[in-house]
Symmetry: C2
Subunit: 317 residues, 2 copies
């Protein structure tokens, strides 16, 4: 069942006002040559140019400042493969509190460096969900910090919704495609479309190597992400208790892309559109290019979720 | 002496109206971590997200549609190492005319491919100014096309000025830094600052390996670009009859950057700000990072002139 907080439009408007000053209103750009390739009109919402390089700054800002408004005085903590860690660390610094971050030891180096630069207190763990959760529990026990889950948190989801609120203020797409990992961005996208869209459909884009959301959507029951294997390092996690019901109720479809298609879409975004997208952010374009008939002639908004990639280790080297 | 057409503000306003529909109003973005590094507040004007991947679309649109307004019915021709060729070919297609383009045979492959995709009729020549001019003269004799010089053309310069007009509508910088090759963008920047700025200074940024504008500025007399050697492949050319006087009269200073500094600045733009800039576009940031005292605490606008680079051949590989 959808969390009741998501049924009230005012909560979304509140989030949008709350994050002003801590996030960018990011630009939306088009690229004629990609439109020709795709056979539709694509609008790229550039969250790679968002503060800390990803949409995660939206959710983190809303979550931290909601806590502060409610009188909370402690630190915050989370486990994150990278972008959420950076975003939370950055916002915590603005709020004058500490961010205690648990990161898998195989996280992308540039993401670890960035979180460190934002002042995060990092604890590493082995790259399993269990190890993340156990380590985080230990950190919280030791520091008394409040957990800010990367996606299964109402304030995070309300924050992520502001991206699509901005899209819908500027254009009227037929379809919005967002990548899905844990489902925070996707849920925010779908819920914003419900409250602020006219007749827009929301599609999820997922790597074949981490197809748990696709499976969950087909079976209409939660399927966890087990041994995911994809270059899209932001999309490895399982759906959550808050995000699964939003997927089932408000997302029109889930589409998969292969690793080759993801890398090719990423190359296309870099070479043709000059959009420095990380692999996770290329999955929506990969899906559009793979399913010509579905998108033909449509106005399609794509959330370019982030640009945090180690430029010394590009996948086409 | 400054060309008289540049003394009338109306000509700039006319150019801005003329290019609507053929060019983007590009976004301006900031990056906290680069601001910390530079010790000033930098506003990146993203002409890498301009149509055809560079500011050149502005000048090309203004030049071609000015010709059409004046009843011209033939084709256009030019010599260009790349971005101007792409831009002119694209606009010519909109105008329903041919673009005859002379390109040095050592042009970046991605630029040749793109010009070809836009439908250019390309003739290659050896990479010297003399060969470019001779070959172009032959092409013009054969086809009757009208030459659109990449920078020494009043309509091109008026077109390039629209980039700074947009900057000044959105922010009030203390300084604008533009790269200088032939001086078309720089002239447009300086002239727009004269007509539309309050108390903004314009600085030119140039590679040490192609320092003819710097030398010309120091000596107050034209020095040609001889055997330039720099990774900034858009900045190899000499100043022109129209651009040299603008440099002397309206540009406050010229600063140089080394090859190492250019590559480092480009890396910084990619890694930290997720701005996919070509080497020529990184020269202004290189100059800012090299001259801390001059820029400290200032509001600095940087024109990110283009993003046309072969992503398989990055300079830090």
């Amino acid at each position: 069942m959808i969390h009741p907080i998501f049924t009230n439009k005012e909560n979304f408007i509140g989030a949008k006002q709350r994050i002003i000053g801590y996030t960018h209103k990011t630009p939306i750009v088009t690229c004629e040559s990609i439109n020709r390739l795709a056979g539709c009109e694509i609008f790229f919402k550039l969250e790679n140019l968002q503060k800390a390089g990803a949409f995660k700054s939206r959710g983190a800002s809303n979550a931290v400042f909601t806590l502060l408004e409610n009188g909370f005085k402690g630190d915050v903590a989370t486990h994150s493969s990278g972008n959420h860690a950076q975003a939370l660390s950055r916002v915590a610094r603005f709020a004058g509190i500490e961010a205690r971050v648990v990161m898998p030891e195989n996280s992308v180096k540039s993401k670890i460096d960035a979180a460190r630069e934002y002042g995060a207190d990092i604890t590493f763990c082995i790259p399993t969900l269990e190890a993340r959760e156990t380590t985080l529990a230990q950190v919280i026990e030791k520091t008394g910090a409040r957990e800010i889950h990367p996606y299964d948190n109402v304030d995070i989801i309300l924050g992520q919704s502001t991206c699509t609120m901005e899209i819908l203020e500027e254009i009227e797409p037929d379809i919005i495609v967002a990548p899905v990992g844990g489902g925070g961005l996707l849920s925010g996208t779908a819920l914003a479309a419900v409250h602020f869209g006219k007749s827009v459909r929301v599609f999820a884009a997922e790597p074949e190597g981490a197809s748990d959301a696709w499976q969950s959507f087909q079976k209409k029951q939660f399927v966890p992400s087990e041994r995911p294997n994809t270059i899209a390092d932001g999309l490895l996690t399982s759906l959550g208790k808050l995000t699964f019901p939003v997927l089932i109720e408000h997302v029109s479809d889930v589409f998969l892309a292969s690793e080759t298609q993801i890398i090719e879409a990423m190359r296309t975004m870099w070479q043709r559109a000059k959009i420095l997208a990380e692999p996770s952010s290329a999955v929506p374009l990969a899906v559009v290019l793979r399913n010509h008939a579905i998108f033909a002639g449509k106005k399609v908004a794509i959330v370019v979720s982030g640009g945090n990639i180690d430029i010394d280790n590009l996948p086409w080297k």
